[in-house]
Amino acid sequence: MAFLSLSSMRQPFRGLLRMFPIVTYLPLVLLLWLGSGIGVPADLEAMTPRVQGLVTIFLSLFIEVLPFLVGGVLLSAVIALYVDDRSLHRFIPHRPWVAALVGSGVGLIFPVCECGTVPAARRLLHKGAPLPFAVAFLLGAPVINPIVIASTYVAFNGDWIMVGSRVGLTLLVSVTVALAMSWLPRQGTLLARGVRHLESGCQCASHSGERSVGGVLRHSATELVEMSRWLILGALFAATVQTFVPQSLLLQLGGGRIVSVVLLMALAVLLSVCSTVDAFLALALSGTFAPGALLAFLVFGPMVDIKSTFLFLTTLSPRAVMWMVGIIVPLVLAAGIVVNYTAR
């Protein structure tokens, strides 16, 4: 193998030097320097334990999510290579509301959390699945799946009302958002550039793989690299917020039937915990917050948290993500407030 020849090195490295983006590397260098504690001046020494804490949270989020992302990416590669577009068109309904309804229930067959749904939804869109189906799957599957239903049931000590409310509201919101997205103008601009690139039937080396284990792995590699950047950005942002913004700052703002819903929705975004365990956290907050706020936490978190919002950008355009979040927020907020005013 002609591994390194001067002629092949010169051009990429010239490009590399020219395009060196200090903005990307500066946080990395700062985190490494402060976190390692090497050569840190006395004035900044107090920062080292904090930065080490930030690194621990960041790595814990990255390590916890990676298995689900890898699973999603492998599933996506299998869909890409083994599921032909015509079969998919036959099985996925095309009427928007039916597609949305079916899409939000796919998690019952493929139980994935919010990070696993993204690569699969991305691939389904590429294969021609209707947007309402993919959006409903993205938003619904992290909650409407047997693992999350079971964990909510266990955490809330067999409270079927809470389990049913969580699943029901998730279904309602995911179907509504999916339908609303299908009515937006300029549908072509709702997908991320990468997905549009896939949609155009590209035949580049990474997307024209053969049907084999090697083909699945090479497909997975390209997609894993692409998606990891958003996972890393999201995890880094969530870890930074968790390290430097005290939870009590939010929680001390207190109860109230409206404010409590807003607070727990904000906390869900800030914590970015996986939907499989968030019910246990909600329970820990149940002594302080009203049921509507807890329900909003359980429905909103799996749909919109820091890391998954970044991951959505691999599939949907920033405009589409803004619309999606913009529709979800008032829906969940209203539902939480209504529950707070009606629940005994």
């Binding site: 990395l28 080490q52 790595l59 814990s60 890898v70 914590l271 365990v277």
Partner: protein, 239 residues
């Protein structure tokens, strides 16, 4: 994209980064450091994931000599991909400690999530963990707790503005990963408390006394002995 025979720089860099991340994870699994980040029940899953990432990385490297491809436009991407690899390798692996404590959120466990570890099933209170004591605070009558012996291991945290002779012995409870941690702690009254630094791991033996807390009587350990110990292999509690 310019295409000619030569090195596919994207495949080379991305492949090696994926192999590096997989190796870092396997190394942490081997060194038993992964429990600093996640619940032990996830270790098999993470082990399998690390092997898969390794295989995927090698598959990416397979394309290294397929078609010449510049890596110049993806330098930002590589900076981000390197982040977990370098932080996981170069920053010393530490459990979440006192720097992440929000003093007003300590013990905000409400007791109820931890009903599975009911302290009442274990009569000997020296075997109770900090979570059990949190649970006891919500379930026992004050007179049932007073005078009970306690034997706890945790790290030291000095609550700002607390008495010099007092510190908190703390353990984080983790359901899934460190991001969902909650601090469980008990104040310890010990005359040499000020000599202990934050994050020092200690074993506290003493008896429980009561004082007025916010709404509920607060337990305080009147320490008989406080011994500095090594950080436990599993620094978190798992409800």
């Amino acid at each position: 994209m310019t295409e000619r025979q030569g090195t596919n720089w994207s495949a080379a860099i991305e492949g090696w980064i994926l192999v590096g991340i997989a190796t870092m994870l396997l190394r942490k699994l081997y060194d038993r450091q992964l429990t600093l980040y996640t619940h032990p029940r996830y270790l098999p899953l993470i082990g399998v994931t690390a092997v898969l990432v390794l295989v995927i990385g090698v598959a990416r490297l397979w394309l290294i000599s397929a078609t010449w491809q510049s890596a110049g436009g993806r330098v930002s991407l590589y900076g981000l991909l390197l982040l977990p690899l370098l932080l996981g390798t170069l920053v010393p692996a530490k459990p979440a400690g006192s720097a992440l404590i929000d003093p007003r959120q300590l013990n905000n466990l409400q007791g109820r999530p931890y009903r599975g570890s009911s302290p009442l099933s274990e009569a000997d209170s020296t075997r109770w963990t900090l979570l059990d004591w949190m649970f006891a605070r919500y379930t026992l009558k004050p007179e049932e707790a007073t005078g009970r012996p306690a034997d706890l291991v945790g790290f030291v945290y000095h609550v700002p503005h607390a008495a010099a002779s007092e510190f908190n012995v703390v353990r984080y409870a983790v359901v899934c990963c460190v991001a969902d941690r909650s601090g469980a702690s008990l104040p310890v009254h010990w005359e040499h408390g000020a000599e202990l630094g934050n994050d020092q791991w200690v074993r506290v033996q003493g008896t429980i006394a009561l004082r007025n807390g916010d709404g509920l009587p607060e337990y305080v350990i009147e320490a008989a002995t406080v011994t500095v110990v090594d950080q436990p292999a599993q620094p978190y509690l798992y409800p």
